[in-house]
Symmetry: D2
Subunit: 261 residues, 4 copies
Amino acid sequence: MAVQAIVWGENVHDRENELVRSIYPDGMHGCIAEALNESPDISATTATLEQDEHGLPADRLARTDVLLWWGHKAHGDVDDGIVERVVERVWEGMGLLVLHSGHFSKVFKRLMGSSCALTWREAGERERLWAINPAHPIAAGVGPYFELEQSEMYGEPFGVPEPLETVFVSWYEGGEVFRSGLTFQRGGGRIFYFSPGHEVYPVYHDATVRTILRNAVMWAAKPGIRWENVADAPNRPVGEALEPLEEKGPRLHEDGEAGYR
Amino acid sequence: MAVQAIVWGENVHDRENELVRSIYPDGMHGCIAEALNESPDISATTATLEQDEHGLPADRLARTDVLLWWGHKAHGDVDDGIVERVVERVWEGMGLLVLHSGHFSKVFKRLMGSSCALTWREAGERERLWAINPAHPIAAGVGPYFELEQSEMYGEPFGVPEPLETVFVSWYEGGEVFRSGLTFQRGGGRIFYFSPGHEVYPVYHDATVRTILRNAVMWAAKPGIRWENVADAPNRPVGEALEPLEEKGPRLHEDGEAGYR
Amino acid sequence: MAVQAIVWGENVHDRENELVRSIYPDGMHGCIAEALNESPDISATTATLEQDEHGLPADRLARTDVLLWWGHKAHGDVDDGIVERVVERVWEGMGLLVLHSGHFSKVFKRLMGSSCALTWREAGERERLWAINPAHPIAAGVGPYFELEQSEMYGEPFGVPEPLETVFVSWYEGGEVFRSGLTFQRGGGRIFYFSPGHEVYPVYHDATVRTILRNAVMWAAKPGIRWENVADAPNRPVGEALEPLEEKGPRLHEDGEAGYR
Amino acid sequence: MAVQAIVWGENVHDRENELVRSIYPDGMHGCIAEALNESPDISATTATLEQDEHGLPADRLARTDVLLWWGHKAHGDVDDGIVERVVERVWEGMGLLVLHSGHFSKVFKRLMGSSCALTWREAGERERLWAINPAHPIAAGVGPYFELEQSEMYGEPFGVPEPLETVFVSWYEGGEVFRSGLTFQRGGGRIFYFSPGHEVYPVYHDATVRTILRNAVMWAAKPGIRWENVADAPNRPVGEALEPLEEKGPRLHEDGEAGYR
């Protein structure tokens, strides 16, 4: 069965800004989903902020292998309960791709535990992304580097924890660098942050960007794998110990009592 | 100047539970601070939940190199604003030692971005902590392993991100294992999680545990280093680019406008 | 096409030791290859020390997605040239599974750059392997833990670099712990070290061990991905710079000269 | 007591190349040692290739907290026995700073287990080093970035394992990027690779570079800590097990026999 992906789009500038609308008539999420569906191994649909439960009801998320997240202007409008739902699904094993301005989304900040801050400049300058590990599955087919003629500059320091892997590092015309492709792990979930994607440039029409997104979805997907009850903290009673065990000394908790959270 | 440390204690069982009070007449925080102050390089004070601002006003935190956190029953009573204050200080460079049941504290969960869950058993069983890297500064003087005759079992899976370093792994009489000493980095801050410390056993009177706490405070301290404005996301205007840069193409933001968060 | 795997076996005790021969009539490599071939996604063959080029000619390695390595008594007999050939193939992207006493193989030591030492005891004691990340693809289907009734104890400290991921940690009856499943990356290659596998116990007949080996082969495989010329250090002449560049200042090297190695 | 550092220099171009001699009349090693000795906390001496045992007799290394390594033209002339001696001292806990073309030194390649390859261009172009973690002790006092007006370009992909921490990333005038400051751990030893330092530019006279070298020496030093017998693989006899243990099943080794290596 194909990997089940949802492209979540904020869908604000996509509707309200004439320029963005002209570049992405089906919304950025629509364009990205189309890119994913070019692979026979991926089945991608979309979800947006204005939908009921932001288009992410629990049962839909439960069937999803990889979620992609693009948000910018309306981070604050995302419901905290939905954020927690997404976060728990990541812990369970759902893959997550966070795109561009999604670095400041509630979901990403919640999973990183860090500032997620960076510096930025909107000048339509050239960005050149270098493959740090050209044999990483996410970089397959990219070559040593690729260029975006117009890009928003995102500059270091990028306030994220040390990543598991650095896949891309960007060079900018204006003199900055940025770790533009990074992998993380939270619970059972694989996370990929990918920085290109400013809405006033046609980044998601770029063939290499589309290849990377497809690669990353396949890399992040773990169909059939689920860390059940990932947030539980079960008591293991003495009587059920795996090795012979005699209780010694004092106790704080009664039998069967839950721990404090 | 000595490293400035604060030992934060929840101070609930320390006062309300007769057994805990008998083991720790000055509170667990008092006992830990005493252990730290045995080093001429550390100056440790205490703070507790019931104090104003939980004893952690901003100016006091600003002067603190390392914070130690022990909480259990009253995690939910810690004010969210104070949590954010502590978290930002960690990002700025303050060291953080999270002890035992502090794995479920708001501060730790906020910084990890993961479930922080584990399995547990309160049977007074033997725990043997093995030094994974005997030459890590935190393990200095510990030897290949040490034992706690009575300990609460904390078992894997421990819901934390892949650590920077695994310093200790524990063996339990009842058959479980646990990564009992782990390091992490968030922003400028070094974090050490250390699992021993159940309140009904005299763990913080153990000489090796006290050595490890002193070692860890020195490892986590970065006196004089501060990542200023760590959560800012400054715009770098075209006119101030480090390399000659001409603005190209369309823009979303006006000059001087802040980014979306 | 199925993932192409080679199970490399030293094949010394397999032939010379009556007990080992009785447990593994087709050799340990034969037993492991059989386990892998139970998956329709894997096509596994074997290679052994006594074969020409140890069964690992360059063209065969070039077609191989994942190599498994079991050696013990005859580490020193492995040709250094073949070791370098294997190592370069790993850098290029071939997966590598190092099994049990292979921790002291030339190939593993060469790739780790560390001592690869550990403590050990041959007492037929119980080993319990805990899944640290139950949703890691290598741990799929294993459950929270599994047991080997008879195992050789391998104890910490294990002299390897901090791993990318800790997948399993073992508990031993005699009181030790061991990081029994670890992942690493070297160049384009994914590496998994898995400690069970002493030749006088029927470890590779264990159903869970066989599941893990199949999982790990699939995890390590990158069919179709190759980091070409992985060890080259090409000069990028000024005239071919990606940005306009004027040569400034003195030089050590003439045009077209190779760098020093 | 001050941290004991040795600056190892190949001392070939330093003597034979007129330009290098004019920039570094006391050799590059002499200039670097001078930079270190500007700190009251460091006591730095030098050692060079042409000295007996390359200036690195075992007893001298045993007293050394941090070794710095600069080599280029004569990597192949370094004695393999001395390389192993240095490597074992790193495993024991000695810090190691590898500078510039030292990426291809035997010592660094031996410790990394990877190709250590990169791309390069000698054009005297501008390099701008960005601090990825401005609060890392190695980056203290550096600010968000610093520039070298003339530098040799070192470009990605850099064939090293995923680092523990990325401290600096470089931007180059010609369009490349490079992870110019990386930390690693091998056994007890902390390793820092720092890429600037081409011999025909006055890089080690740069005030910021000198600050970074001093910072890195202090970060890598672990005075008083030694992982004894780091490469031993001791047998733990059944009779000395930490938990009651009865021998079960067959054995390969006789009592007191050493393991195979």
